[in-house]
């Protein structure tokens, strides 16, 4: 696979491992947060930690939109399907997340709700065209990577004059979440740098991270999606640390520019506006961190069409996801991990998606728990 296999090459990985080992100062620790769920997955799946020196620690951040989706939003989606009897279209990632009252989208489907898995928002639109007598709602989750496709589809729905299509918008933004993490008091959090998300950055560009690097004095290196990209980004972060720099650098130059995808940004801006605030699972309420449909597209807003109200739902008392999403605790620090909380019965945000810190550790890495604590 071109542009994939080359970036998973074992010999090149050894080069990078040696370079990182040579670059680190042996008497200090480096703590880098990889923000993007895709990176968490790549690191775990390829065992990248085994190629890093023991004083380089990777902290898993909140870059998984499934993990940070509040249960209350999922309840709205389930209500749409069960109570309002719409055809609810969703990405597969949401199907198994436990919601309130012992339900999930998958369980709601077993109860008779019409819930369809779609690969693309465009499929939801096609479905609405095919069944004009039924209301179709698209459950739109995701960061800035996934938001432009939703924008395209809403504009198309407007162009077609569809009256049976709407969107439950739960799109969230990356920079505000990064700031929330970095706003934690210094004693609660020790981070030496951030590995910036790959595909979010193709859309928003590298520019939005500049203020973050400056204000918080932390280096940010945007990394491509493959394990070699992540390793190269770590090398660049280590070098910035040694040289006392706190800049934005781009490792993913083959797909990310400083300004990003302007066309996608304009489309998002045309269809969406900022919500005053939005609750993030594990991170609390963050102002100006999420999107809703603009007034001009209000007819496609499922929250308005179906008069839905968001009700906050607290996480399990013993759940340490909040601390984990802020990088302060490791899955094995949570009493629920691998006891009550497993991928089959997830208690909190970090276990629900294969990219959550707990799910990734459980699925790929828990064999390490008996060994050194990494």
């Amino acid at each position: 696979m071109k542009y994939v296999d080359e970036f998973r090459d074992a010999a090149l990985a050894q080069n990078l491992a040696r370079a990182i080992a040579a670059a680190v100062e042996p008497d200090r620790e480096y703590r880098f947060m990889e923000f993007c769920g895709g990176h968490t997955h790549a690191i775990s799946r390829y065992g990248v930690t085994d190629l890093l020196p023991s004083n380089v620690r990777l902290i898993h951040g909140p870059g998984c939109p499934v993990c940070v989706l509040p249960v209350g939003r999922l309840d709205m989606a389930i209500a749409l399907a069960l109570t309002h009897e719409v055809t609810l279209c969703t990405y597969a990632d949401t199907l198994r997340i436990p919601a309130s009252a012992g339900l999930s989208l998958m369980k709601a489907r077993a109860r008779g709700a019409d819930i369809r898995m779609v690969y693309s928002a465009a499929d939801a639109l096609t479905l609405a065209q095919q069944q004009p007598d039924k209301q179709v709602v698209f459950f739109a989750i995701g960061f800035e990577t996934t938001t432009p496709p939703t924008a395209v589809v809403i504009r198309e729905a407007a162009r077609l004059g569809l009256s049976n299509f709407s969107v439950l918008c739960c799109h969230v933004l990356t920079p505000p979440a990064m700031r929330r993490i970095l706003d934690a008091p210094a004693e609660a959090l020790a981070l030496d740098g951030l590995i910036g998300p790959a595909h979010v950055s193709t859309i928003i560009g590298s520019q939005p991270y500049e203020a973050i690097a400056t204000v918080y004095r932390k280096p940010v290196v945007i990394a491509g999606f493959e394990p070699l990209d992540v390793m190269q980004a770590i090398l660049m972060l280590v070098r910035q640390c040694r040289e006392g720099r706190a800049e934005v650098e781009n490792e993913f130059t083959r797909a990310v520019t400083r300004e990003g995808n302007r066309k996608a940004q304009h489309l998002m801006n045309e269809v969406f506006e900022l919500r005053d605030e939005f609750e993030w699972r594990g991170l609390g309420t963050i102002p100006h961190s999420a999107l809703r449909l603009r007034e001009s597209y209000a007819q496609f807003d499922a929250e308005q069409r179906f008069a839905l109200e968001f009700k906050a739902v607290a996480d399990h008392r013993g759940c340490e996801c909040g601390a984990m999403l802020r990088g302060v605790k490791h899955p094995r620090d949570c009493a629920l991990f691998a006891t009550v909380c497993t991928p089959e019965s997830p208690m909190g945000a970090c276990m629900v998606s294969s990219e959550g810190a707990c799910a990734a550790h459980y699925t790929y890495g828990r064999f390490r728990d008996g060994e050194d604590h990494r």
Binding site: M1, K2, Y3, V4, E6, F7, D9, A11, L12, Q14, N15, L16, R18, A19, A22, A23, E25, F35, C36, G37, G38, H39, G63, P65, Y91, Y119, S120, A121, A122, D123, G142, F143, T145, T146, P148, P149, V152, T174, P197, A198, H199, V200, T202, I203, G224, F225, L228, D229, Q232, L235, E251, T253, R254, A255, V256, N261, K263, A264, L267
Partner: protein, 77 residues
């Protein structure tokens, strides 16, 4: 962040649609988020939409950088 893969555009279909291919697997995707895409370009696909083009020169340079690291002797602390 989210799952996206690089694939080669093999056919433009009009109405912002195209067929991309990766190792014999073909998929129809939307080019609505990009301009000036031609057959032969590589694009990054996410949920059925092309998000950006892959710059072949930059890709080469990145790989060359990785390879060069094998030739650089250990940095002097």
């Amino acid at each position: 962040m989210c799952l996206a893969i690089p694939a080669k555009v093999i056919e433009l279909l009009g109405h912002d649609q195209a067929v991309v291919e990766m190792d014999g697997v073909r998929k129809q995707v939307s080019l609505a988020l990009l301009d000036d895409v031609i057959a032969g370009d590589y694009v990054i696909i996410h949920v059925g939409f092309a998000l950006s083009k892959v710059d072949p020169d930059e890709a080469e340079q990145t790989l060359a950088l990785f390879a060069q690291l094998g030739n650089i002797s250990a940095e002097v602390p």
